[in-house]
């Protein structure tokens, strides 16, 4: 520091000095610049201070109000700021907008040619049953059928698990399932490629989406709440998107969605729907039971 200032003083005295020019130049790129001192009339300074502090105060109030209004209802209720159910349309709009931007980024990152990492059998980790106490009764399995709708033929196709296993080649992969909650599990999956099903039973030409539904034991005695997800056909055609029939070398158990479930490693776990009963191809984006609860629509990872 001191040395540099000496240099600059030297230079000021003798501008033609060539000796100090090159070292000074290279050093000055990283060197701090001297601060700018100025002299201001007191009343002008007071005016600046008042103006800037007012602007800052207004900004702080706006940020507190704007940021606070974005907080979840439960948080605001706990803080005693609101009581009862209150939602602002702008809040939902802004948060959904951020989610849409994020979905668009995810879609831009996705490539059908980019394969996800695969693992070895020694890296397999336990996969928990995420039905959370609502595992369906296995009585649906013998009667199970998969219905395909929205096909190019205009017909509705119904298949049982023997048809599927007999007419499609099974593919194996050891891939990671990532949950939106933050946990993940590596498992050994086997099943038919969704892409192969799409080739065998082509969807109608304008179709861009699949609505995949699991309605097992629906009715007053069983599951009152069918699970359904949306899946874009570009992701469905990814070579690692499987309609899985086997987990860790054995046929799927009821906990993991027997007899047929989706394993789509490029999406969050919540798209990996179990016990699929119906696939409907659509032109417009179908509903998704998690998107309805405030999660993303696309869920690409």
């Amino acid at each position: 520091m001191k040395l540099e200032d000496e240099h600059s003083a030297l230079e000021a005295d003798n501008p033609s000095s060539t000796k100090s020019v090159s070292p000074r130049k290279s050093a000055s790129f990283f060197e701090e610049r001297p601060p700018q001192v100025m002299e201001v009339a007191p009343q002008l300074l007071r005016h600046w201070t008042r103006r800037d502090l007012l602007l800052f105060g207004m900004g702080a109030i706006a940020a507190a109000a704007g940021g606070g209004s974005l907080l979840p209802q439960a948080t605001l209720k706990r803080l005693g700021i609101i009581d009862g159910n209150k939602n602002w349309p702008t809040k939902e709009w802004l948060l959904n907008r951020a989610l849409r931007v994020d979905d668009d980024v995810a879609e831009a990152l996705y490539s059908r040619n980019r394969l996800v990492p695969t693992y070895t059998k020694s890296q397999i980790t336990p996969l928990k049953n995420n039905y959370n106490g609502a595992t369906p009764d296995p009585s649906y399995i013998p009667e199970w059928r998969l219905t395909l709708d929205g096909l190019a033929s205009g017909l509705s196709v119904s298949l049982n698990i023997r048809n599927l296993l007999a007419s499609f080649r099974l593919h194996e992969q050891i891939t990671r399932l990532v949950c939106v909650e933050g946990w993940s599990a590596i498992a050994w999956w086997a099943g038919l490629r969704f892409d192969d099903l799409l080739s065998a039973y082509p969807p109608m030409s304008q179709a861009k989406w699949a609505r995949i539904e699991s309605s097992v034991n629906v009715g007053p005695w069983g599951n009152p709440d069918p699970y359904f997800v949306s899946l874009d056909l570009s992701t469905a055609r990814h070579p690692q998107t499987l309609l899985a029939t086997h987990l860790n070398g054995e046929s799927l158990t009821v906990e993991h969605g027997a007899p047929l479930r989706l394993h789509v490693p490029v999406k969050l776990g919540l798209k990996n729907i179990k016990a699929i009963t119906r696939i409907t191809y659509t032109k417009d984006e179908p509903q998704d039971c998690w998107a309805k609860r405030g999660y993303s629509h696309y869920d690409g990872i």
């Binding site: 520091m1 001191k2 200032d5 000496e6 600059s8 003083a9 000021a12 990283f30 701090e32 610049r33 001297p34 601060p35 700018q36 001192v37 100025m38 002299e39 201001v40 009339a41 007191p42 300074l45 600046w48 201070t49 800037d52 502090l53 900004g59 940020a63 507190a64 940021g67 974005l70 907080l71 979840p72 439960a74 948080t75 706990r78 802004l94 948060l95 951020a98 989610l99 931007v101 995810a106 990152l109 996705y110 490539s111 990492p117 990671r176 990532v178 949950c179 939106v180 909650e181 933050g182 946990w183 993940s184 490693p265 490029v266 609860r293 405030g294 999660y295 993303s296 690409g300 990872i301």
Partner: protein, 278 residues
Amino acid sequence: MLHSIQLDKERIATLAPENQAGVRVVRRHHLLVRCSHWLNVPILLGLILSGMSIYWASPVYRHKPDPQTGSFDPLADIGVWICAHVPGLHHYGSPPDWVYNHISLGPGVLAVALRLHWLCAYLFMLNGLVFVMGSAMGGGWRSLLPRRTDLRDATKMFWYYIGVPFAKLTRRTWLHPRFNTKYNALQRVAYFSVPIAGFLSVLTGWAIHKPMQLYWLTAVFGGYDKERVWHFWLMCFFVLFVVPHVILVLADGWDTLRSMIVGWSTRAERSEAFDNEA
């Protein structure tokens, strides 16, 4: 000498003729720095609060489930302990949620927390980008760049700060180490590491968010589970930075805090030392 000539020119330029005594101020923080600095306050707060609500859904740190309560989350255990031992909290509604109710948006709000986290994360990246580009073009990064002597000088500053309260209590003189740069060595180390921590937070964030498409980034941080640990500790770094940062600014006085709002400081003498030292 050169400086005083410059000053005279400025005096002529900025002073109205009827004013004899102006106030000498030094330009301290560029508007861009002030804006990005204060924008970071709500953005980081939003990121940390929503981040802890996301953490709740699947804690990074966990132990074997407790046979009695089934709890596997140390943060939930701390809440239970606090509610059992702190007077007035014995009737707290849900002790395992106590910590989350105080350092996050609360438990069970994962969907909203995620949306808020993305919103704040995109704003954080935008803010960081503007700051980095602005400092690169304006040259302001030079005053943040650590020097070779900074480790020794930063230690000196550290002991100075530690000693200040004791010196005040015992009414002893306690001299501030001399420096003639915009920031002292400890500030430089701290302020330089914050943008780096921000950058790493963004990288680990993307690696967690897109572990399949950006699998190479996930691999850089040691895999999906490890990068969550990285992301968590980078958040802790911000908290560990902010606490002494705020304490020291308040201790240093109004001029320092004001300079981050209005941009100038009346402590022009520090910059005079710049030339007088030579």
